[in-house]
Every structure is written in C-alpha cells, then in structure tokens.
Symmetry: C2
Subunit: 782 residues, 2 copies
C-alpha cells in the first residue's frame, strides 16, 4: 500500500492551506491574501496565539480527512493541545463548516479577513479550541484530560472513531498519565474506538518534554505496557512524512476494523491491543527556522509567536511574508479568496466533516432518559422522623431501573465506591465494565456494563464529561472529600457550559450530576483526611446559570432531587446525601412538594403554630437536619412556651437573592421563612461561612448564626464529630438560649445542663467507643 | 546469596508480631495477649480499620529493617496505602519508638492494651498513618501522592533511601501514574534514592486493580518504559516469600549502591536505571481465608474488617481468636507483654529505626534559610505610582541570591513556567534539573539544579511537600488558575499541618509557599480557561492557624512578603502577584511598613486630609489597586471637594475579626480604616463574595460594596477584562456616585460621562485590538 504522488500533493496542499490560515489568524488584521505589500497596519498590535503545536494539528487533520473519506468513517478530533486553536478554526473554515455556523465568516476573501481579524481579538474568538470552535468538545486550556474525554466519547458509540492528539507536554500531567489505562474499560463490541496520537514535538513553553527525551525503546515499552501497539511516524521532510503518516493511519485503522470485526462476529478472546500513533515532528514545523540568530523551528521558541516584532521590525515583517508565501497561497485560494476546487473536494462532506460531526455537538443527538416513576421507590411513610432508611441505598433501586430503561445512554461512574456508597442495587441490572483479566472470584465484573469504577476521580470525571458532551447521560458518585481532586476539571466544565449557553448552535447537553456521599459527618472508618465539604464553595464560584446544589435530608427527598437532576440540561448538579441508616422525614408526596419549593417550614417539627416564632432553627443536610430536629425536640420539652420554627433547605441556591440566582428568593419570601428580626440558628452541612456568603444581603443577616464543619475531626463516632464542631443538638439549644431573650430564670440552669450533657456524652464515647444508645437510636417523637 | 533458615525464622517472627499487634488494634479493647477467653466485652463495639493492606506493609517493614541493619542504611518508609495505619503503629511499638513519643503506651502488656484500645477509638488515634504516627510523613488518606512525596524526600539527601509502597489501588490514580517519571529529575550524585515497591495485593475496596490484572509482561514493560528495573516477588507461602523478598531487596540495594558509587566517583554516563520491586501477595494475607462461606483472604473482602460480627457472633469470635493465635503470641511476647529479646534485637537502633528517623520529623533537621537583604533588590523609588516594574522579575533577582546562599536546601518548583512567570534571573545562579536526554539547543538544563520544572502541578506539589516535610525550603510558582489542580493536595497538607501543630514532638517545618502569578486579569494569550482566582476560597476553608494569603500590589511589597514567607514555619502562604509591567507604588521602606501592617491607608492617594472621608476606596491585588488609584485620580479631578480615602490590603487575613484569625483586626481597628458609616467600594482581585465572607460581621458591612472577578472573560485586552467584570476605574467612579449622597447636580452628568467612557473604550478595543494609550500608559499623578 502507500499513497500515490498525486494524493501526497493534494494532502500537502491542504496542509499548506491550513498552515497559511493559521499563521494569518495569529498575525493579520488585513491583507489576508498578501495581495498588497505587508504594512504595519496589516499586523495585529498584540500578537496572541500559539504557533508551535499548530502545524502538527493541521497535519493530522489533513490525514484524518483522507481516511474518513476513504473509509467512510464517523470520526471526531480531540486536540489535547487546545491552545492550537488556529488549527481547528482553519480546518473548519476550509471544510465550509465554519461559515455554516458563523454566517459572516464566509469562505472568500472578506470572510478570510474576518477569520484572521477575529482570532484572539477583543470581541472576537478565543485563542483556544473553545466552545466557540465547531467540532470541538475539548478546549484543552487546562492540560491533561484529552484522552479521558476521548474514551468518554467512544463509550456506547460503536461506530465512532475518536482521534485524540495528546501533546507531549500534556503527557507529563498525572491525569493524562493515568488515562492510558482507559483501554481496560473499552468494550470492542458496544463501544467505539479511540486512536491516540502522541505528538512529540519535543518542547513545552520553555523546555523539552520527558517523553521526547527518553530512548524510543523506552517510549515504545510504555505503550506496550499499557496495552497499545505503537506506530511511529518520525521526521521533518513533508513528503516523507505524508507517506509515512498515511501508512500509519491505514495500519491503525485496519487494526481497529479488525478488532471490531472479530469482537462483533466471531468473538474475540481476551483484551484487544489497540493501535496508537507516535508522531515525532518539529515544534513550529514549517515556521521560521531561525529568528534573530537563534533557532526557532524545532525548539520551544516557536511555542507562541515565533516572530514577535512584526509590526515594528521590518525584517520580522519580511520574514512573516516569506513564511506565509512559502505555503504558496496563490495555488490554494482562488481569485475570490475561496479554497481552490482541488482543496474543496478533499474533505469529507456534511456530518462526516470533523468540524460538523454531530457527536461534537452532543445536544443534537441527546435523547431524554426514560425514567421510571421515582415515587415507586420511596420509603413508606410511618410518620415524620420515625422510620430508618439509607438514602443512597434507596436511590440505588431507582438507578437500577434507570439503567434497565436506558441500556445504552446512561453510565454510573465512581472511584470503586458504588457498593461502598450503597448503590449496589444497580448490580441487579448491570455489571462493572472490566476489560482486564477476570477471575472466578470476581463479582459484578463483565466486558460490558453501565457501571465504571476506577480509582481515579480524574478518569471518572473525564470519561463522564466526554460521554455527556457527545449527547448521553450519567452520574458520578464520589466520596465528598475527594471530589476536590477534580475541582479544576469541574471549573473547566462549568466554564465550557457557561460559554455554550450563549451559543445558539450548541444544543443543550445533559447535566453533569454529582452524588457526593460518604460525607464529612460519617467518615467513621477514616477520619480527618476524608472530611471536607468544601467542594460546594468551589461550585458556588461558578455562574448561577450553570450550578445547582442540593442537600436532600432523607431518602425520599434524595429520590425527588435525583429525578429532577437527571431530567435537567446544561447544569452541574451537586447532590450531597448520606449513605448511613438515618431517619426518614417526609412521605414521597411531601418530599416532592418540599423539593419543588427547595426550602420550607416543617410545621410538624415547629412549635410556632404557624405564627411568629421566637427563634428559627434552619438546617441543610442530613446530619444537621437530625441535630436540628433533636434540638427542637429538646426545646419543646425544656421550654414548652417557646415558639420554634424549623426550616429545612434542600436547594441551597434558594438562599441567594433573586437577582443573583434563578432559584434565589425575594427578600419577602426569605423573610417569610426566616423572619426579619428573630434569631436564626442555622445548622449547615458544610463550612458555615458559605451560608453567610449566600445570605449576607438579607435584612436579618445580623441575627443569622451558622453552625457547620469547622475543620475539626478525626476517626471517631458520629455524634462526637458533630460535638467537635459545635453542631450537636445540645449546642444548638445553647445557641438558642444565648440568643433568645426573655427565656426566664431557668435558662441559665438549662444551659448548664446542656454543657453537662455534652461532657457526659464525650465521656461515654471515650469510655465505650460508641455513641450512647439514646443518641444513636434517637427518633423524632410521633 | 540468600537468607539462612535462622534469619528467615527471626524475620517471620517479627512479621507475626506486627500482624498480631495490627489485628489487636482493629479488634481488641482488652485481653490483649488473649490470656483469658475472648469475651464480647473485649471487642470494640465499632470495628474500624483496614486489614487488607496491613500484612503486606508489615512484611516490607520487617525486611527493610533487616537491610537497614545489614547495610547501615538511612531509610524512611512511605506507606502509600496509609489506611494500613495499624502496621505503622505496630512496628513503631515493636521498635520502641512509639513508647518514646507516647510515654503511656509502654512496651508491655498495659501498654499493649492501650495501643489496641486507642486505635480508631474516640479520643485515641486515627486509623491512618497520620501525623500522630511516628515515622510518617505521608498519611495516604487521599491516594496518589506517595511516590511524589518519596522523591521530594530524596532530593538533596544523598545518603537517604526512601522506601515507598505504592498500593495497586493508588497506582490507578493520575497523580501516581504521573509520578513514575520523577526518576528523570533525580540526580544520583546530590540526591538520595527512592525504592518503589508496587504492592499488588490485587484489590481495592470492592474490585480488582488494573495493574494486578494485566499480564506480567505488560506490567514489566511499564516499569522498563519508565526507566526502572523491576524485580518481582510473588507468592503466598511465607517461607518462600521471606527468602525471595530478601533476595530482591539485596539486589535492589546493590543496584542503588552501585549507581551511586559510579555516579559519585568514576562518573556515570547517561541516566541510571533504578530498581523497583513488584510485590504480589494476597490481600489480607494470613487473615481468615473464608468467612461465612465466602473467600476473604486474597480478595477485596479483606479490605476493611474481615470478621465483622465478632462481638455478637460467637463463631466470628472463635475465628478471631484462632487467627490471632496463629501468630503464636506466646513465642513473641514475654510474661510482661514485651517483645521477646529475639525480637527486640532485630530492628535497627536510635535514629536508624524508621519510626524514629529524623527525616520523618523534618523540623528536627530544619535550618533557617540564609536570606540576602531583600531591601537591596527593591525598585528605586521615584514617586508613588510613577515607575514601571515587573513584580515577579524583581522577585527573581532576590530568589537568584536565595538560591546562591542555600545551594542544598531550597528548591523552586513549577510547571514549566519559571521563565514565563519572569523569574528567569534564577538561571544566573542555577539550572533546571534534567536527567533525561540533553541536546545542544537546550538552555539552563543540567543534571543538578535548584529549579524543577515538569508539566504536572501534582508532581510540583508532591515533590515540594516531600522536600518540606523532611526539613527543607521551597517555593511553588504556578499559574493562578491551574493551582486548582492541586486543591485536594493543598487540603491534605493543610490538614497535616493543623494536626502537627498540636503534637509537640513534631517540630515545625518550613511553610509551603505558593507564588500565584499569570493571574486572572492578565491572561492575554489564553482566555477564559486560564481565569480563575478561586484558590483563595479553597484556602480560606482551612484553619486560621495554618493559612496566610497575601496580595502585594507591586514589586517592593512582593519582595517584603516573600522575605516574610520564606522565614515562616508551618504555614501555607499564598502570594498572588503580577508578572506584567505595572506601576510601582511604594518605596522599599514604605513597602516594609505597609506589609508589616498588612493593610493601610495610602495618604498620598487619599483626599480626606487624614480626617473623615466621604467614601473609602479599598483594593487588594495589583490590577484592582491600579484601577482604584485611577478611580481616585478621576474623582479628585471630577469632584475636587470629595474626601476619598484609599485603603490597600496586602494581608487578606487582616479583614477577619480578631477572634477568627491571628492576623484579624479588632472592630476598632477595622472601623478606623473603613469607617463605621461611609460607603466602601472594594476592588478585589478574586471573587467578590470572598471579601464579604471575611467582613460580614463588621458594623459597616451593609455599606461594603465589592467588585471582583465574576466569571466574565475571554481572550481580550487587560482593560477590557476589568471592564467585563465592572472592576474598571470608570465603573468604580460610578459606584461612588451611586453610593455617596450629596454629590450635587453634576453627579448625574458625570455618571453619564463614565458610562460613555466605558463604551468608548470598548469600541476602541474592538476597533484597534489594544487598549487606548491613555489607559495602557496611565501613571498616577506626581
């Protein structure tokens, strides 16, 4: 096999065109076809962009287009080095896809001028492969997640091939290094293929990369050790490289086709060895080889803008012109500035173009989940706070049937914690995906399944993002403390969603749903390192249009919240819920009403008779709700005349002013719940200042006193944990006594009793190693 | 070579003793030597701990002790599966180190009873290898960082060997997967050695591990691909395994000694291939092989507590007794309950014991940095706000001389951004460490050096933590947005420091210093993905005793802050500073005074004549300070009679109430700056609500109006960025007009002018692609 000279010429022309358009984007304000002499005013005053990775991205794009056409492939392209934005934009424009989305950027000279001018320009487009870029599901601004996204896109897309450029800088990151093992979770029957292309251009911003500076033998051993068959394409002579890349792609795609055929027909024994390409080509390939006396092409100096003084330095300007003309634009663009016919006929058509593939605009393909009626899974109601259930276990039954009803469009990911988080009912419907070796002792492991467990929060998050971005649904169940591991990935996904919400052509995708459990208050086995409710603080820094936070206090509210989240679009929903046996407070119908409101007075626990209270006890989260109800119970017995109102918060966003968040309450609504002048003792699941941050503008804020986690903890009993943080029922009563005036002479005496109770409980715990039975088995009065 | 039968017996006895003590910790309240029948009341009511990994950790410990003695090694032990806490505690007790630190936990029967009882018990010790555990620098509660910590400990410790157990669960995490390449950054001359031991016990909490379920050939290729020589120790027969492990350790330590000898004498060509051990042994080895009819030893079911109902189930209790007696405690402990003489003589002595090695209590070894006088590096003063400097470039000169003065105890780490962050003066004194291949084109790369660059924030953080925990100093320079990648690692280090502050025997270590630059306001090349100032929000969730945040507004204040941070102990200091050319506001002497106060009125920019102001303009961060001064300049010209006070905040903690943070101000101090009743317009570097969170308790809080980053951004000009977030000078003037009463009739007119100015500037930017010259080159009036 091999490419004919003609085909090489055509691909080379296409590559030259993309390179020309990339350089133009970085430098030119005007004179896009260099029909005039290049003058300072044609040059952008601020040269912002990254040339170094761009020619390599263009090279792969051109070659992928050839195989897409030759094999009628359904392919998307993930560019790990997303700062090579000009490459994606250039190719989208060449293919015509860009002009279909952005009508004013026409495929002619005026359009080319706009294309150049808008890049990295105020009011224009970002320098990266951003949401604004057609064909992108991966911005790559923060490095490390390309391969995880690629696998996520491939899951349950049996006919899709995801080509994924991994930059050799990115390859140094932990998340990327951990992503190679994704091939142990890819089912060759039901999933598509990922073709990783490790692009060794040798340098990062300022120095060499590790994988480019180890012996090739070692590099190949890495691939083999991760179960890949590496194919090396190495050189700098374009003609040779075109031939070699074409060969390599044919070899790789033949292997993929063969694996899939065997797996899907005769049956494939064992785990397939998937191909991967190692492309070694110079950084800034085809750019200026030397500038101001130092080498640039093939070094880190070509990372951003190889010629930096083009506006002021005539020699630089001459070099830029020479550089651009070296691509021979006269052969590439016609009199109107459109790509010549030979180029226009080269790329695939319609949805086969990588810039227009519907998988890269997943909302186009998204279908609603088929959801069973969550009411059917609710805990039976036997009175408020009288029945014990495990919230996540109840949810597990619902999820089991979600999985049954959506066998190809829903995945549950988590770091080896599905059972530990008590969602194990899902294994009645499905298994954990496991492509590595199986042993007879294994349970719930299979080559295909809806549950994905790997001890890497990064992979869980990256896979799920790739899955959602290509139009499917999912849930990430995670230990609360360790979701901080993906703070940065959350941030980037939130930014992506925020931008896509402003792009009408990007169709809404399913929300990213987090179930945070094994939370701060119940780390009985582990202790301090496992106690951190601060993800909520990270989440609330992101725009109100994107983030939602729910703290259902029991099983039935969790069901209602989960149903709502699974139906939603373009959000990041964070649900915090307990997995331990805990009281159930509401019937399913009450739970629906309460969750719909997001916040509400629990009359059955209040003693204000629906009138003005003396004090408001507010709570959010399962453990704080328990302590609040126990405090209300104590108060009812200790101060029978005291009018106590209990308010429970499920939807944390309700606390914000209406102008700050769509779920926010007006001041009138807020004061109807929290009063305008009574003390509010708020028991909160997380760090207490988060509630203040949400509520500081409210009139009664000076009266708001929040208890929460204040970074006190260790391996101890559940009740000792709340005592360590002054969130316990006795302390809440003390807080009431300290803040409500006129409780009479008994108050000081009762306060001392509460102090003594705390000491007694602490002593009991330290003596017996467990909470006193009256605390442990406490049930709200019938 | 090989171990004699005698030695095998002795090591086996030691291992049995450690296993016995581990099981005892998990289960027993009393009857530690099983001298009585085992009754329910001898069993802990809550069984909390992790058995699965423990016997493997004990196995390695016993064998490492042998080689420490045989070779007089200086060795510490990092236990990646830190939840195997009983192992570390058991060995420390056997060696006597535990009783030296915790006097009441004596090495006899009463002490053993305490040892057992305290584990995972309220008021006792955590279940993990926590700060409370002698010999630990790595808690391992959150998985992924063991190997990075190990390398950090080995840097600049040429005589130290760091044995590092990597769990096969942990091996799935991204950060761990990325850590193997640390060997490209280890200098065999000036650094010590790391001996990784990948412990394949095959299972995580609920399922198998990837690396245990791939063909051994693939596994070995991984090691070879990462430049290691793997030595496999595999089996379950103790006698065989003792012999094999001893052989493997001898082979590995011979290799290490040989590499170091050659590197340090004759000179070693190329990068050495370091040894690594692969230990394949059953999870829960020597524990119950079957419980209630299902296999336990060698499966995930032994992860936590193999026998779960020991208190209530007589059969389980019988099995526990049988299990413990299988270690033959009668041979291991004497009549007093102390280890028999044969055991006592086995471990090394004094500081050679891994539980008492001073490197694992780094503060014991810590020496002050030799710091040059930072005053000598300050920008010359030519008037407030009249001179331009690049803050981080100025800092670079100081750091250069810090490096010169401390050639073996200070490292600068960062993800390939030292030059990009303009600290390149350090290359006048040192190089970047680079153990991989070198090419003639390379600059500032060498086998040894003080700068460590790798495109992995996880490695930067992990290396630095390991380096600090073993008693050295350093600085992590990072793009502000991407420090979120290590949010979780920051959290864990803060937790570690918080706990060690309560342990007198743990000596203070150098602070972890972050320099966050390339910040949100100046991401000219990149855009939205690179804009995130939210790390401060994460930091402020951690205890006041540990965290410090500084926002020096210019070069001289940055110098003063840096000097302070480098002298401090046991803190995490976060310094946010710009790298772009920016105005210098204070002379060095003024900067020292300002930074010492942490907050202050800038009289030279104020027009309140030292009296009561009409409005306070507050600012924190370089760009907000610039906009605030420009706003003050506008106000002085537009409203000559308006009394404006300018307050600048360097030390963010000053805003908190005195009771909340040691740096916090009293209400009187606060009101002396911010008044008790005047509007305060606060221009903040980060998310605006963070300032509210700090200041909500202040009397004048209702008058506090904060501008900051509100998640609006893209690739655009610096001034457009501040305009997008309403932080620009014109908007600050509008904010003043909207909040100060009695500005007269002209106010509405001036307000409109400000609105028009903003539109004019936006139009200019969109037309010309750069900020207007009067904005860009704005200088505070002389």
């Amino acid at each position: 096999m091999g490419l004919g000279q003609d085909e090489i010429q055509r691909i080379d022309a296409y590559w030259r065109a993309a390179n020309y358009l990339s350089v133009g984007q970085i430098y030119l304000l005007d004179n896009p076809l260099l029909r005039e002499e290049l003058r300072p005013e044609h040059i952008k005053p601020r040269l912002l962009g990254h040339w170094g990775t761009t020619p390599g991205l263009n090279f792969c794009y051109a070659h992928l287009n050839r195989v897409i056409k030759a094999r009628d492939l359904d392919m998307i392209y993930i560019m790990g080095p997303g700062h090579g934005g000009p490459a994606a934009v250039a190719n989208a424009w060449l293919e015509g896809g860009y002009s279909e989305v952005y009508r004013d950027v026409t495929r002619d000279e005026p359009g080319m001028r706009r294309l150049f001018r808008q890049f990295s320009f105020p009011g224009g487009i970002p320098s990266h492969v951003a949401p604004e870029t057609p064909g992108s599901i991966h911005e790559g601004g923060e490095l490390g997640y390309s391969l995880a996204h690629a696998f996520g896109a491939a899951f349950d897309n049996p006919d899709l091939v995801v080509a994924c450029i991994v930059g050799d800088g990115e390859a140094e990151t932990g998340p990327l290094a951990g992503s190679w093992d994704s091939n142990k979770f890819l089912d060759p029957v039901g999933d598509g293929a990922v073709l990783p292309i490790l692009h060794l251009n040798g340098y990062k911003i300022a120095g060499p990369t590790v994988s480019a500076r180890i012996p090739e033998e070692e590099l190949l051993q890495r691939f083999e050790g991760h179960g890949y068959h590496p194919i090396v394409v190495s050189g700098d002579d374009p003609e040779y490289m075109h031939g070699r890349m074409a060969q390599a792609l044919d070899e790789a795609l033949d292997m993929i086709a063969d694996i899939q055929r065997r797996a899907r027909t005769s049956g494939l024994e064992g785990r397939p060895v998937w191909p991967a390409i190692v492309l070694r080509s110079p950084k800034g390939w085809t750019g200026p080889s030397e500038v101001d006396g130092v080498p640039v092409e093939g070094t880190w100096r070509s990372h951003q803008v190889p010629l930096a003084q083009v506006r002021s330095n005539e020699e630089h300007r001459r070099m830029l012109r020479e550089w651009m003309l070296s691509y021979r634009p006269g052969e590439l663009f016609d009199g109107e500035g459109a790509p010549v016919e030979a180029l226009r006929s080269l790329p695939p058509e319609g949805g086969r173009r990588m810039s227009a593939n519907p998988h890269a605009n997943g909302g186009l393909l998204l279908q609603d989940l088929r959801l069973p009626d969550f009411r059917d899974y609710g805990l039976e109601f036997e009175g408020h706070g009288t029945h014990i259930g495990e919230a996540t276990r109840v949810l597990g039954h619902f999820l089991r049937d979600v999985i049954r009803a959506n066998p190809e469009t829903f995945r549950l990911v988590g770091p080896d914690e599905t059972a530990s988080n008590r969602l194990s009912a899902v294994y009645e419907a499905t298994d954990k995906v496991w492509g590595a070796e199986l042993l007879p002792v294994d349970e719930h492991l299979a080559r295909r399944g809806r549950v994905m467990e790997v001890l890497s929060e990064h992979l869980c998050q990256g896979w799920l993002e790739g899955y959602l971005l290509t139009g499917r649904h999912g849930l990430f169940s995670c230990y609360e403390a360790f979701v901080h591991i993906v703070d940065a990935m959350f941030n980037q996904h939130a930014k992506w969603l925020k931008v896509t919400r402003g792009l009408a052509w990007r169709r809404p995708i399913a929300s990213l749903n987090y179930l945070l459990t094994s939370h701060v208050w119940r780390q009985d086995h582990n202790g301090f390192t496992h106690q951190d409710p601060g993800f909520l603080d990270v989440v609330l820094n992101k725009p109100a249009s994107v983030v939602r936070v729910y703290l259902p206090p029991d099983a039935n509210t969790l069901l209602s919240v989960a149903d709502h989240c699974l139906r939603s679009r373009d959000y990041i929903n964070v649900v915090v819920a307990g997995k331990q046996p805990a009281l159930s407070y509401l019937s399913v119908e009450e739970a629906i009403l309460h969750c719909t409101r997001g916040i509400g007075i629990w009359e059955w626990a209040s003693t204000d008779g629906g009138g003005d209270p003396d004090v408001v006890l507010a709570c959010a989260g399962d453990v704080p709700t328990l302590e609040t109800l126990a405090a209300a119970d104590l108060l009812r017995r200790l101060f029978p005349e005291l009018r106590v109102r209990v308010v429970n918060v499920v939807d944390l966003m309700r606390l914000q002013p209406a102008g700050e968040h769509p779920h926010g309450m007006s001041d009138a609504e807020y004061e109807a719940l929290f009063t305008s002048d009574r003390p509010v003792i708020f028991a909160f699941h997380g760090y207490p200042w988060l509630v203040h941050r949400l509520a500081y503008r409210r009139r009664n804020h000076a009266n708001l006193h929040v208890r929460g986690y204040k970074e006190e903890g260790t391996t101890t009993t559940p009740f000792d944990m709340v005592m360590l943080n002054d969130l316990d029922r006795f302390h809440l009563v003390i807080d009431v006594i300290d803040r409500v005036p006129g409780l009479g002479e008994r108050a000081a005496h009762i306060r001392q009793r509460m102090v003594d109770e705390r000491l007694r409980h602490r002593a009991h715990t330290r003596e017996h190693g467990e909470d006193p039975a009256d605390i442990r088995d406490w049930v709200w009065p019938y």
